[in-house]
């Protein structure tokens, strides 16, 4: 399968308001991040993709099926993990996940077997026999993920999957999601406001705003990188560092620091033809003097997802590098 999702001249109106439109967009299999401000049209798009909302015009193809006309086929091959809690009150985690299986057409016995398997995969052991509504957030999120996986879907749609999870839980959930792709070959559509999560897990992103697809592709492809510029972190006297570096022709831009203290974070732009050895020369000198200055962090300065997102949503030219 080389096309996961295809949008063809898709438009959806609510009355006179155009909630979403896309001319010709193709998403390849993989882990895709779906980003956009509130009201950008994410829910409209997801509803259309799952076949729950009919486009006003145009078509959406999911896994090779027409989302509007073959909605059942789509939903039987896709798993959806909603943002809000949505479960059937009064059931245990196991019964809930089994019900999900039965709704996919499995016999009760098969559904229960699969439910046990999926729950073990997600690490839910004794909790599976307890009532869902009484479980803490971490367990409930994983139960939600379990019901999305019960039918061994080719594509899993996750809406804010780390919502309410503490740092350890969040890390575990992101790892689980990565492994679903790496070990099971599933494609994932990951919708989130937390750019850190998306960056950690996704191969490519789709950025929406005001009902349009502003950009899509791998983060690295969307980022613009300035060659020969590096991020520097220093400890000790920043002025001494600054002086030593400027002497050697390095341009420095200080980044804003917390709490008004002098900045220890810089972007260093090396002169033409120089490499990092120049920086180390400067710091070798800096380490000897008193007050000294030490290099405590160095990496090539690239745009990360946050800056890419900010730039694209703010309206700069953000075409798809896949064009």
């Amino acid at each position: 399968m080389d096309e996961l999702i295809r949008l063809e001249k898709l438009k959806r109106y609510y009355g006179a308001h155009l909630a979403f439109e896309a001319e010709e967009v193709v998403f390849p299999p993989g882990v895709i991040g779906l980003l956009g401000p509130n009201g950008a049209g994410k829910s409209t798009l997801l509803n259309i993709l799952m076949g729950l909302l009919e486009p006003s015009s145009g078509r959406a193809w999911m896994l090779g099926f027409d989302a509007a006309k073959e909605s059942r086929e789509v939903r039987s091959r896709v798993g959806y993990m909603p943002e809000n809690d949505s479960f059937v009150a009064g059931l245990s985690v196991l019964q809930f996940v089994s019900l999900a299986g039965e709704l996919h057409g499995l016999r009760p016995v098969d559904a229960r077997r699969r439910a046990h398997e999926v729950l073990s995969l997600l690490g839910l052991e004794e909790a599976r026999y307890r009532l869902i509504e009484e479980q803490p957030t971490g367990i409930r999120q994983r139960a939600k993920l379990a019901q999305a996986l019960i039918n061994n879907p080719d594509l899993v749609i996750l809406d804010e999957p780390t919502n309410g999870l503490d740092p350890a839980g969040r890390s575990a959930m992101l790892e689980l999601i990565s492994r679903l792709h790496r070990e099971q070959g599933k494609s994932i559509l990951f919708s989130s406001h937390l750019l850190g999560d998306v960056e950690r897990v996704c191969d490519s992103v789709v950025i929406l705003d005001k009902g349009k697809v502003l950009a899509h592709g791998a983060v690295a492809a969307l980022a613009s990188s300035r060659t020969n510029s590096y991020r520097l972190q220093v400890s000790g006297s920043a002025e001494v560092c600054g002086r030593l570096l400027r002497e050697r022709g390095v341009r420095l831009e200080a980044l804003p620091s917390k709490a008004g203290a002098p900045s220890q974070d810089f972007i260093a732009i090396l002169p033409e033809g120089a490499d990092t050895k120049l920086l180390f020369e400067a710091f070798a000198a800096g380490g000897e003097g008193e007050p000294g200055c030490l290099l405590s962090g160095l990496w090539p300065h690239e745009e990360n997802l946050e800056t890419v997102f900010e730039r694209i949503v703010a309206g700069e030219a953000g075409g798809s590098p896949n064009d």
Binding site: N47, S86, G105, D110
Partner: protein, 317 residues
């Protein structure tokens, strides 16, 4: 003891036993794709609904009440049969037997109708309490988001809920009534009763189904709209207790038109039951299409309420 030369195959020592494996929990067996027809997707909805109601303790109370009533009727039939056998051939026994037949259980349509009608109160109470569990909670806890994200259409969801509720009600009305019918027939001398009473059987089935499905539709509408038990109980009481009292007062005391009775759901059920069993009655002397229209209005309103609430649910919000 003979000495045997030991033959050691070196390769056995160095290679791991082929039986040893470490099972990777990340290997999922591939799921059998749909083994059940897509059109039957509503059945799990029904089953889970029933299961959630039956699990509660209060359910046993209502089943108990319904059962007592059923046993009472059942015992009456048994008593009659026994009485008839005892008094067979005895000249003076015919009197008491006639009396028993006329006043305790006649075996005509009226008796079966009366049985179902006597169960209606228990049914009403049971539905009021179960409305939240059957339907209301689905809206409160956003279960519909879960259901609709699966290969399940909205009408299948409705059908599942309807079947669950109807089954619940028919367990108290239609099914025991059929059991009584069979019991009565079995106690007769011949099996002619069954052939002669086709109209009665039709009446039982029709009335039973009307009560089962009809009250279910009403409940689905009310529960979808109100969602919490207390609200459902209050509105349910309004429909089944308050309105009948008001219409009675207005009709009797103020001697107003008979058509006020159409607001009383119990009246509508009774009128239909008489029609199904072919029983003549002075209950109502107005136009026959009015009760039918009134029933249609009740059902229409309930269906509309349920439908608009489910339509309003967006899976991705």
């Amino acid at each position: 003891m003979t000495e045997e030369s030991l033959e050691i195959n070196e390769s056995d020592l160095l290679s791991p036993s082929p039986e040893a494996t470490v099972v990777d929990r990340w290997t999922l067996s591939s799921a059998p794709r749909e083994s059940r027809a897509a059109a039957m997707a509503w059945w799990p909805v029904a089953r889970i609904g029933l299961k959630l109601v039956v699990k509660r303790r209060i359910f046993k109370v209502f089943i108990g009440l319904g059962l007592i009533n059923f046993l009472f009727f059942s015992a009456m039939i048994y008593f009659l049969a026994g009485l008839a056998a005892q008094l067979k051939g005895q000249r003076f026994g015919q009197g008491p037997l006639e009396f028993a037949r006329n006043f305790i259980f006649t075996g005509t349509g009226e008796s079966f109708r009366d049985f179902i009608t006597s169960q209606n109160t228990v049914v009403m109470l049971l539905l009021a309490i179960s409305g939240a569990v059957l339907v209301g909670n689905d809206f409160r806890f956003r279960s519909l988001t879960f259901y609709l994200s699966k290969p399940l259409e909205r009408w299948q969801y409705f059908l599942g809920k309807l079947v669950a509720t109807s089954l619940l009600v028919s367990m108290l009305t239609l099914l025991p009534c059929l059991a009584l019918f069979i019991e009565y027939g079995l106690f007769g001398d011949t099996f002619d009763y069954f052939f002669e009473s086709r109209r009665i059987l039709f009446g039982i089935l029709a009335y039973g189904l009307l009560v089962s499905i009809g009250m279910s539709i009403l409940l689905l509408g009310v529960a979808a709209l109100l969602q919490r038990t207390i609200s459902i109980v209050m509105v349910w009481g309004l429909i089944f207790i308050f309105l009948p009292i008001v219409t009675e007062v207005v009709h009797e005391a103020a001697r107003s038109s008979e058509y006020w009775k159409l607001l009383d759901f119990w009246f509508l059920l009774q009128w239909c039951s008489n029609a199904f069993f072919g029983i003549e009655s002075e209950l109502y002397s107005g136009q026959p299409w009015c009760p039918i229209a009134a029933l249609a209005a009740w059902f229409g309103a309930a269906l509309w309420a349920f439908w608009s609430k489910t339509r309003a649910v967006e899976v991705v919000s």
